[in-house]
Amino acid sequence: MRAYLPGYELVVPRDLAEALALLRDEPGAWKPFAGGTDLMVLFEAGRLAHRKFFSILQLPELRGVEETSEHVTLGALTTYTEVQRHATLRREFPMLCRAARETGGVAIQNRGTLGGNIANASPAADSPPALLAYDAQLELISAAGSRWVAYGDFHTGYKQTVMRPDELVARIRCPRPSTNAKQYARKVGTRRAQAISKICFAGLAEMFDGRVAEIRLAFGSVAPTVVRCRRTEAVLSGQKIDAATIRAARSELAVEIAPIDDVRSTAGYRLRVALNVLEEFLSRLAANE
């Protein structure tokens, strides 16, 4: 059933301070509204439970991409289109660009934001596995100040995060990967464009002397949150990649993730594809591709 339109509010704060004051004065009463690519879908379906929103899309303080020699920092309102067009991101963060390109179609990419993708906290979101593999940090801001949290510690349960009701995601900071780092991302959906993931993977590794010096593995749609697979990483760390290590990594991953049956896929299919995608990444590392 369609939602009752006059029951909803969407106010437009003039600046960031005004937005944060709303959150401070009535914690939990107001929720941020960025590109609306998820909230408007819920609204139209009559499933948008919350009623009072404030738009953040117009706030320049939450835009822009900054670079230092060690990090790239993205404003929470960076759209998927902006990600794809950014020269440094294209060169050094191909997994994030790929995720941006595979999220919805052009019209969604023009409107959807990285901060929204993160704060919406869907386990099927496409940019979070890449951000986990890049070891991103998030800046959470409130009227009381700002704090940085590791993105790996951000999601605490299905649609649950460490954010307080008075906080906003302001920026996403990623360390620039070493030029030696191997990156591999793969989304598996029903269709190449405009499909929500059945599973989504991002892996980043550095090899030294034929062994795994550093490895980060992240999946979407295989657990109640997007996940970093640290136990599987531990199995691989320091190892040469051969048939035996690939078998061991597959066995560990099979118990580390917990995919489910839902409208988009089955637990069995997701598990099998997750293991195969991991193997594909590891085989490429072994072949030095």
Partner: protein, 169 residues
């Protein structure tokens, strides 16, 4: 049964100034009203179609500040000061745009529901990439679905439009 809300729990209509197809307009609507509905019902610009209503099909595509968007996902409170182009703003008077001409020549329109969105997606693509490859065209149209499944003719229409504008592919 419809939920009953007291007056204090409901929002009033807001007034939003923006430019639609070159004309300054003032819209009066509830803040979360979909731009799609406001265009169709307030401004009677019914060229913009509703397909899925959830950002999957592209039938409601319009261009806001030079960017293609799904108008079913845009609340009117967020278009203050925006420049909006709908399918009605594509032709100059009686003179059709090259993309529209190409759709006619190549049979790119069947039932017509997806056509306004397809034309705007194609225009947006050619604006961003004047000389698109075949892959660029497929990707540029990937968010627009055609229930008649006339995809090849739509694709050929965009290739023709590139030729007509001298861009080529």
């Amino acid at each position: 049964m419809r939920e009953v809300l007291s007056v204090s729990e409901t929002s009033g209509k807001i007034s939003v100034n923006c430019v639609v197809n070159g004309d300054a307009v003032t819209l009066a609507a509830y803040p979360l009203a979909r731009l799609l509905d406001v265009l169709r019902e307030e401004l009677r610009l019914t060229g913009t179609k509703e397909g899925c209503g959830e950002g999957e099909c592209g039938a409601c595509s319009v261009i806001i500040n030079g960017e293609l968007v799904n108008s079913c996902l845009v609340p009117v409170a967020q278009v203050r000061g925006a420049e909006i182009k709908t399918i009605e703003g594509v032709a100059s008077g009686e003179q059709l745009d090259a993309v529209q001409e190409a759709f006619i020549e190549c049979g790119g329109a069947q039932c017509g529901i997806c056509t306004p969105g397809m034309v705007l997606a194609a225009l947006n693509l050619l604006e961003q990439i004047p000389q698109p490859t075949e892959a660029d065209i497929r990707e540029g149209l990937a968010g627009n679905l055609c229930r008649c499944t006339g995809y090849m003719k739509i694709f050929e229409s965009v290739v023709r439009a590139c030729e007509r504008t001298g861009a080529g592919s």
